[in-house]
Amino acid sequence: MALSTESIDAIKEAAARYPHKKSAILPALTIAYRQIGYLYDDLYIEVADAIGVSPNEVASAATFYTMFPKQKVGKYLIQVCTNISCGLMGAESLKEYLLKKLNVKEGGISEDGLFTVVSVECLGSCTTAPMMQVNQTYYENLTKEKVDEILNDLREKG
């Protein structure tokens, strides 16, 4: 069992909030994702068991949403927006800078196990382009210097 008892309890609590068990799939996946860091086949079965629905429904929903990583990622998942506004403001070069600096390929994990960089579509923060999301936090109006600073802070936190 990969899910902790706390996660399972939280999933059950979430499931109890809805008239249909199915409705709890996304909240439950979020709970599982927060604990494990990514989603995979056996985890769908565990989540399904905790809610009381079929693994089919959980896996269908999970694979539909690209924002759940389906492979192991670093402790900090850096999602760089490369959509139009950010793209115009230099998102691509920012991403290249990140990849070079962390010495990883897109989607890979840095050697220290801390970082994974991926490009994503619009995160709805166009007025503050370019921007990136690190786990649950938005970092906006980015420059190379700002990125250095953020990475250093994160490294320090470990």
Binding site: D41, I45, S54, P55, N56, E57, S60, T63
Partner: protein, 878 residues
């Protein structure tokens, strides 16, 4: 239903309100191409190929709608004018096709669907001959070992995701109609994949339908693919030979071999969604085990012979027996899946040529074969509803029936009512059944406590005055009397005996009275129950109390049985009934055709026949299409009895265990090799046609007995199955039905009165069953994807779902005895023993074991004894 009028392509048509434009067009023969639409499913408008141009009246003017509409998702309205073939529509369809084909591989020559592919046909009709899409097509590599990106996703389903056009018919069928969860769509957009859930495979009982209804070659069938091209085959209509639902099927034949069976939608029965038993169950027809020549016992060994020799031996023996014993020395037992033509000819031969009435088919019960007077009085012997009626019921009370495996298509209607009108399904069984996937409540009662349960509920309803006296047509004094007579069914006792909590019983009683239109369904467990009649009467009581005796979608059903169990009844395969269920007093009409027949007294039923064989009063017996040794619920007794016979003739498709005991074995043809008719549980007579030549020298039974009749100088002159039909057709008494060809294509539906006689409440009492003092009760039924014996286990595809016998036990019991799954375990009692691998079922009650009754390696009837009402065993770990 309100009618509306609209114009499609300038043709004025009338349709029912609520139908879509597409349905209105298809009904009237106007062709609109479809991919995602399926009449069994709700429309989702996913594929856009059914686009049409619509204009509708507004303020006295016909106003065109600005955009083209998906006709499958647009309701037809009064005065609408629809164009399905205008230039604009054709252009749009070409555009849609171009998009669909952007990612669809052009591998038609190597695709198994080629030749019957809606996408191929539609492209041929509308599509462009070139594509503007220069980019690479999307590609899913399924099985990396295969050149074709194929991936096996179930025992019989192979997927090629590259070809998928995302119509979602497969996943919708599985979820919407079958209530299963073994196929889903994963990922998104163009990369959506059809897959079973992680670690699973698609193996539900209806899984073959996803292949048939895939509009492209994305899902193909393991058994059929690449064996033969579809345009080389010829299709023949047939009827399924397994359960008593009577699905309409068609088989594809090439060079005298059947390659597959597909649906042949009969909307009042199967809705074009047969189960896998029908779809793959044809394979026995070409099995190597088929008998091809008659066999005669010589020096204690069965040796092949000619028909002439075999029939002469039979004739001489019959003559000898009749001379020494009289005609009562001959008896006949028949199986329940022969044709009506067979039954009629058999009946005529035994009754008129030999002069014996000892004919029976009821081999499944230990005692009390016929329904008692009280059941007959309440008209419970005939099922009064039709499958389609179930759709409008609002509640199902299913007791003692594994409906899912006994009558899969009836179960599908129950599920339909659940899906589209949210009918309640209440399952009450001594063990969990697979219908529980959709049930609102499932209660497991102690095995063989049905009378307590049902009578207890009835008492509870009367006691707590939950019934409506007017609807139930029950007077105060009658209610009082009933309470007095049912004193043994106090709530506390009932709860104790059934193992259901009093609150559960109270809730059940309330729920029964609250909802109108309840159908009470019982099945095989009740059919073989030692207290069958009391259970049926108790169900009748409940139906009466809840006001469900009259009406189109309520009543009491006793299902189960085999493909022509009803035909057995109708065509006189009982000692006291003549064809067309006529009693002996009404034999005049028959005598005119048959000549003189003995109608002074009924013959022997199965129990008497077996007894008289033991007493050496019956010397010569015919067992026709019946594997009695494996069917009769007492293996030791039936073996001992049959070996006492002086002369036994067995006619079957295979050398069954019964045939091995015979003196003469006759090879009979399957229902694919002759014309004939079956009657399903609704009482619908449907015909099937000869699709292949007889295998070997086999002959259908009607032909065998027609030949025999000629040897007795009483030639029936039956040369074809139609000759037989023509002879009994006048008895059906329906105008215009004179030949098999005149039977309606969708079957001859007998008119039924959809109400039961109100014979009042009747108190029935519980009788303590006789049994051995052992801890576990044996229950049996069908294993997954199997039905009855000898046939389904000779179908390779069905064996791919389940090939090995097992004994299912409860998990706690397994733990206590340190048995793990797959260990060999033994069940034994004084009758015998069976050994098989253990299968652990979590929800199985602790005092019950379940053994599938399909596999002859593990014969359930060897732990059954005809002297005990119920069979108990002890479990031993090997």
């Amino acid at each position: 239903m309100d009618k509306i009028k609209l114009k499609i392509d300038g043709i004025e048509i009338e349709t029912e309100k609520g139908k879509t434009v597409l349905e209105a067009a298809l009904e009237n023969g106007i062709d609109i191409p479809v991919f995602c639409y399926h009449p069994c499913l709700k429309s989702i408008g996913a594929c856009r190929i059914c686009l049409v141009e619509i204009a509708s009246p507004r303020g006295g003017e016909i106003v065109p709608w600005p955009k083209l509409q998906a006709s499958c998702a647009t309701a037809a309205t009064e005065g609408m004018e629809v164009q399905t073939k205008s230039e604009r529509v054709v252009k749009a369809r070409r555009g849609v096709l171009e998009f669909i084909l952007a990612n669809h591989p052009l591998d038609c020559p190597t695709c198994d669907k080629g030749g019957e592919c809606p996408l191929q046909d539609t492209t041929f009709k509308y599509g462009l001959d070139s594509s503007r899409f220069d980019e690479r097509k999307r590609r899913f590599s399924g099985d990396t070992d295969s050149t074709f990106d194929d991936l096996q996703i179930g025992p019989e389903v192979i997927r090629n995701q590259n070809r998928c056009i995302h119509c979602y018919r497969c996943t919708r069928l599985v979820e919407e109609r079958f209530f299963e969860q073994d196929l889903g769509h994963y990922q998104r957009g163009a990369f959506t994949e059809i897959l079973p859930p992680p670690g699973g495979e698609i193996r539900n009982l209806y899984s073959g339908n996803v292949v048939e209804y895939c509009p492209v070659g994305a899902l193909t069938n393991r058994d059929w693919r690449y064996k033969v091209r579809v345009w080389k085959t010829v299709e023949f209509p047939t009827i399924c030979r397994y359960c008593s639902d009577g699905c309409n099927l068609r088989v594809s034949v090439f060079r005298n071999k059947i390659y597959r069976a597909q649906s042949r939608a009969n909307w009042s029965i199967d809705e074009g969604l047969p189960c896998d038993l029908g779809r793959y169950g044809y394979q026995f027809a070409h099995h190597d085990d088929r008998l091809t020549k008659p066999m005669i016992r010589k020096d204690d060994e069965l040796v092949e012979s000619s028909w002439g020799e075999a029939l002469t031996v039979i004739k001489n023996k019959i003559d000898e027996t009749v001379k020494s014993r009289g005609s009562s020395g001959v008896a006949c037992l028949v199986g329940e899946s022969l044709s009506n033509e067979d039954y009629y000819t058999i009946g005529r031969f035994f009754r008129s040529v030999i002069g014996t009435n000892s004919i029976d088919h009821r081999i499944y019960r230990k005692k009390k074969l016929s329904f008692g007077k009280d059941v007959v009085e309440r008209e419970l012997c005939w099922n009064k509803l039709d499958i389609a009626d179930l759709e409008n019921a609002s509640q199902f009370f299913i007791v003692g029936s594994d409906l899912h495996s006994e009558n899969p298509i009836t179960a599908l209607r129950v599920l339909k009512a659940k899906r589209y009108s949210n009918a309640r399904i209440m399952l009450l069984n001594p063990l969990p059944t697979h219908l529980n996937r959709a049930a609102d409540e499932e209660h497991i009662y102690n095995a063989y406590s049905e009378v307590f349960l049902l009578q207890g509920l009835a008492r509870l309803i009367v006691e707590s005055k939950l019934y409506d006296p007017e609807k139930a047509n029950l007077r105060e004094d009658e209610a009082k009397l009933f309470l007095k007579e049912t004193a043994e069914f106090e709530l506390k006792t009932v709860s104790e005996k059934t193992g259901l909590a009093p609150v559960v019983l109270e809730a059940l009683a309330r729920s029964l009275c609250k909802t109108e239109k309840t159908v009470f369904i019982s099945g095989e467990n009740v059919r073989i129950h030692y207290q069958r009649d009391p259970i049926l009467i108790a169900l009748y009581n409940l139906a009466k109390l809840t006001g469900n005796l009259n009406g189109n979608s309520c009543g009491v059903l006793l299902l189960g049985g085999e493909s022509n169990s009803m035909g057995c009844y109708l065509f006189g395969m009982r000692p006291d009934r003549l064809p067309y269920d006529k009693p002996f007093e009404k034999a005049e009409e028959l005598k005119a055709v048959w000549g003189d027949i003995a109608t002074d007294q009924p013959g022997n039923d199965t129990i008497d026949i077996l007894q008289k064989i033991n007493d050496e009063k019956i010397e010569c017996a015919f067992l026709l299409g019946l594997d009695a040794v494996n069917h009769y619920p007492d293996s030791e007794f039936i073996n001992r009895t049959l070996s006492k016979l002086d002369f036994m003739v067995v006619a079957d498709l295979f050398l069954t265990d019964t045939a091995r005991l015979a003196d003469v074995v006759l090879p009979i043809s399957s229902h694919f090799e002759t014309d004939g008719t079956f009657v399903n549980w609704e009482g619908v007579m449907q015909k099937y046609t000869k699709s292949i030549k007889n295998i070997g020298e086999s002959m259908p039974l009607w032909q065998i007995f027609a030949k025999l009749s000629a040897m007795f100088d009483a030639d029936f002159k039956f040369r074809t199955a139609d000759d037989v039909f023509r002879q009994y057709a006048p008895m059906i008494g329906r105008d215009g039905i004179s030949r098999m060809a005149t039977l309606p294509e969708k079957g001859l539906r007998f008119e039924k009165k959809k109400e039961y006689r109100d014979a009042g409440l009747m108190a029935v009492s519980y009788r303590q069953p006789s049994s051995e003092e052992l801890p576990l009760t044996v229950l049996s039924g069908n294993g997954d994807h199997h039905f009855s014996r000898n046939f389904s286990t000779r179908c390779e595809s069905l064996n791919n779902f389940l090939a090995d016998p097992y004994i299912a036990i409860n998990d706690k019991l397994a733990e206590d005895m340190t048995i793990s799954e797959g260990d060999l375990i033994k069940l034994e009692n004084s009758s015998g023993k069976i050994v098989a691998k253990a299968l652990i079922w979590q929800n199985l009650p602790q005092d019950v074991v379940f053994v599938p009754d399909n596999f002859l390696e593990v014969k359930v009837n060897s732990v059954r004894s005809k002297d005990n009402d119920i069979d108990k065993v002890k479990l031993v770990k090997m």
